[in-house]
Symmetry: C2
Subunit: 227 residues, 2 copies
């Protein structure tokens, strides 16, 4: 289509503008000493259930909060609020991803100095969020055992843009005949060396390993900030 | 962001160009007497398994074919080819949806007069495909029981742009504690009167009802073409 070249040019400008804001956010997060973790996945992969579990466990020892992106509803914020952590919903309308400007706006009246961890749950989408830096320290890509082992091969960009992977709903692995070694091999094919956690928000399996990872990554990040 | 208004203007032009091609495709489909059905859903909802089942059963009495969109692999085309129907993969790269021009290009060397049904499986995405008319007669939105009952409320646009809904993997309903009446109520809240089929590609449950629907919709469409 003849409009495409112009479309791409404009999109590059939007992405560049996003990077400027993401950079400023990253500086602000570092200054406040808050460790920021974003979550991306398909709709229905269990991001919200996993995040609720994570918030509930972490807030026993840390000050935690979350932003959650969605097209139309505030349901996720209501669910996450059960963890007792401060939560704010970002309603994107028809936009298929979060952008740094949305995060910046949502945080306008928050005192980041008070936080140890901030989580940002993206809109459910395995394509669009990969292009938008949100200034986060870590990006986690989730896939559930019910989606099939082939998802990393079919959506390589999002796996490449993430720092670690989480396989969710592992309690359902047997009943859906999930082939864990095939899924892990597919992740490694796309993103060699990627750290992958296997968890169940329902039974709690694997959650502690993931929390250890977050705590150690936060500690390293703070040492780097001091050095 | 100051680039946004220009972005939106360009996007409108792209959509308008898409509509022109979709309109031409629709005329071509009508002239050839082929009934075109597109499928949209999240990644991992079971579009490909359901389509393989549909192609296998329909081709006993009809001439059927399929196009399948994906970011990176040709895996789906390989799976669908097991149905013995002609299948072509459209690899979209980083584009999160199919566009009418991609369908037009993929069909360039196909003789549509030979076909009764053509299926078009979109990229796994509950957001972006909703904006792009592909010239299809019917658009079907699928959601699996493993994704949660709230998906219609969270992704209303795609449910609004579809003609009928399919709830997949119903064999897993019990184990994932799927609340079917809540899911149906959420669909009706977003799209009152929407016809919804409940199916399992694994057991075959519900498939025949869906095939009856396709056959009757095709018959009506042919009567209208003659009238």
């Amino acid at each position: 289509m003849k409009n495409e070249p112009r479309m791409i040019e404009v999109r590059k400008n939007v992405l560049k503008a996003n990077d400027v804001i993401a950079h400023a956010l990253r500086d602000r997060f570092r200054a406040a000493g808050v460790f920021v973790v974003s979550l991306v996945s398909s709709p229905g992969s269990g991001k919200t259930a996993f995040l609720e579990k994570t918030l509930t466990l972490l807030r026993q020892n840390y000050s935690v909060a979350a932003l959650v992106g969605d097209l139309a509803t505030e349901n996720d914020a209501v669910r996450l609020a059960r963890s007792q952590a401060p939560v704010k919903q970002i309603v994107t309308g028809t936009v298929c991803h979060l952008e740094a400007a949305m995060v910046e706006k949502a945080l306008a009246d928050w005192d980041l100095d008070q936080l140890d961890f901030l989580f940002v749950e993206n809109v459910g989408n395995l394509v669009c969020p990969s292009s938008y830096d949100l200034g986060e320290n870590l990006r986690i890509v989730l896939m559930s055992v019910t989606e099939g082992e082939d998802k990393p091969l079919k959506y390589p960009t999002i796996f490449n843009s993430a720092d670690a992977g989480v396989i969710t709903k592992i309690d359902l692995a047997k009943v859906v005949e999930f082939d864990e070694s095939a899924a892990l091999a597919n992740i490694q094919a796309v993103r060699p060396g990627m750290l992958v956690f296997t968890v169940s928000a329902k039974t709690g399996l694997g959650t502690e390993n993931f929390l250890d990872y977050l705590r150690s990554r936060r500690a390293v990040s703070q040492e780097n900030a001091i050095a």
